[in-house]
Symmetry: C2
Subunit: 233 residues, 2 copies
DNA sequence: CGATTCCTTGATCAGTATCAAGGGCGGTGG
DNA sequence: CCACCGCCCTTGATACTGATCAAGGAATCG
């Protein structure tokens, strides 16, 4: 039973569709939960028993094969919605990439509430449509882009998403940021190996498009050339 | 102003969320339109001015780069919904792969109607969630599967989707079917070249998993082995 | 301070793309 | 009805990108 009024993602999460008294009801259904880096909230193939809003931190959605190949199919940031409302098992796992806080609901409770609140469903629909567009752009990357184009695209995407959810300032993007992903995870998002990611980052650094102050930090030094390389439309 | 009551996809399209009198109103907003093979209904980057239900035929959703690379990011079958309701430009083109009939609405008219009909939005949300799950499974294919796994997966997927929308019988899948895609388009869905697709089909044929009576026909002779190869969960 | 984990770099390999040629099918016009 | 033409598909030879194998180095944590 959290204080939604004071929630840092209050105005960006789907909750923004609700009036104060509706929010009060929803707040009784959910609870704030800490998730440690590496902890898995939902397992691929399990029935989707919970949904959640991300308050802080970054989580990955991932699919894997029996023989151990993994593909990250989504990365979620603060104010994003997690989970599969209205039935069905989850087709992917949800795992924290950083320590995170989420506002979690049982699916049954959330579904019941959502059924009564069309505005919430509308917000959810818009978010899902946006997510689908993003997934499709990523399909183009995975199907048709080269390794260097993929890495450039990822850096710009993270820059944009971190910028738009940044608390400190409402910028369209950030030129300096901390990667929420390690090299292996970058490979898993891009459909590449860790070695290829590393080599491409080195190339971008040598071409003076970026610098890498430490293994988790990126500074974009020439956004324009990076965008050209990323085939940004 | 079409006769929705008699519509062949009446019970499977999103219209199934509506009561007869609501359907009568919606029917006045839309019209039935023929789309010839190869004709493009929506262009990538254009403002999304129309949405539609597919009545018959098959269409592709595709994204392309300035230098001519193309990725098919979705294939839609009868009863599927096309378009991006509630604002935004389309992030992909929609083109008929076969001659098709669609029930088309201006986005403005559809949005207005949908706003007043939560059940319709609910149906749309469920469809969009399903589509997102499918897109994410495809991301795994594009990022991590080998050429032979990809081709096997595609054949099974088409078999399943044609089966579930087949008018003649409600089967879970079909063992014999006509491909709505030529080799180039199969490559564009799978992130492969036409030559690689052709070679993999030949291999599947030589391994007696399928036969290819003519260039557009496929017969699945050993679904079980094909599923193993496709890494079907 | 040592151990472990993560990252980079190098050498080699493999899978798929590219380049190139030929064949079969369907459509068209004589 | 048949011959020709064009398109799509298959197959082969070669090239190249990124994967794999391997080793060393840097940052992090106890």
């Amino acid at each position: 039973m959290s204080d939604c009024e004071a929630c840092v993602v209050r105005n960006r999460a789907i909750c923004s569709a609700l009036l104060p008294d509706e929010l009060a009801i929803l707040s009784k259904l959910g609870r704030k939960q800490h998730v440690s880096r590496g902890q898995t909230l939902v397992w691929e193939g399990d029935e989707a028993l919970v949904v959640a809003n991300v308050i802080s931190g970054v989580l990955k959605l991932s699919v894997s094969t029996a023989d151990g190949r993994e593909q990250i199919v989504g990365v979620v940031f603060p104010s994003d919605f997690i989970g599969r409302p209205f039935g069905k098992e989850s087709s992917y796992s949800v795992t924290a990439l950083t320590d995170a806080h989420v506002c979690i609901f049982t699916r049954a409770a959330f579904d019941g509430f959502a059924k009564e609140h069309p505005d919430l469903q509308h917000k959810l629909l818009q978010r899902t449509l946006d997510e689908l567009d993003r997934a499709r752009q990523w399909m183009m990357l995975l199907g048709r882009k080269t390794a260097s184009e993929r890495v450039a695209t990822l850096l710009l995407e993270i820059s944009n998403r971190m910028g738009s959810t940044s608390c400190t300032q409402i910028l369209p993007f950030l030129d300096e940021f901390e990667l929420p992903l390690d090299r292996q995870q970058m490979g898993d998002v891009l459909g590449l190996t860790i070695e290829t990611v590393s080599r491409q980052l080195t190339k971008l650094k040598e071409a003076n498009m970026i610098s890498l102050p430490d293994r988790r930090s990126v500074v974009i030094k020439d956004r324009h050339r990076l965008q050209d390389l990323a085939l940004a439309a």
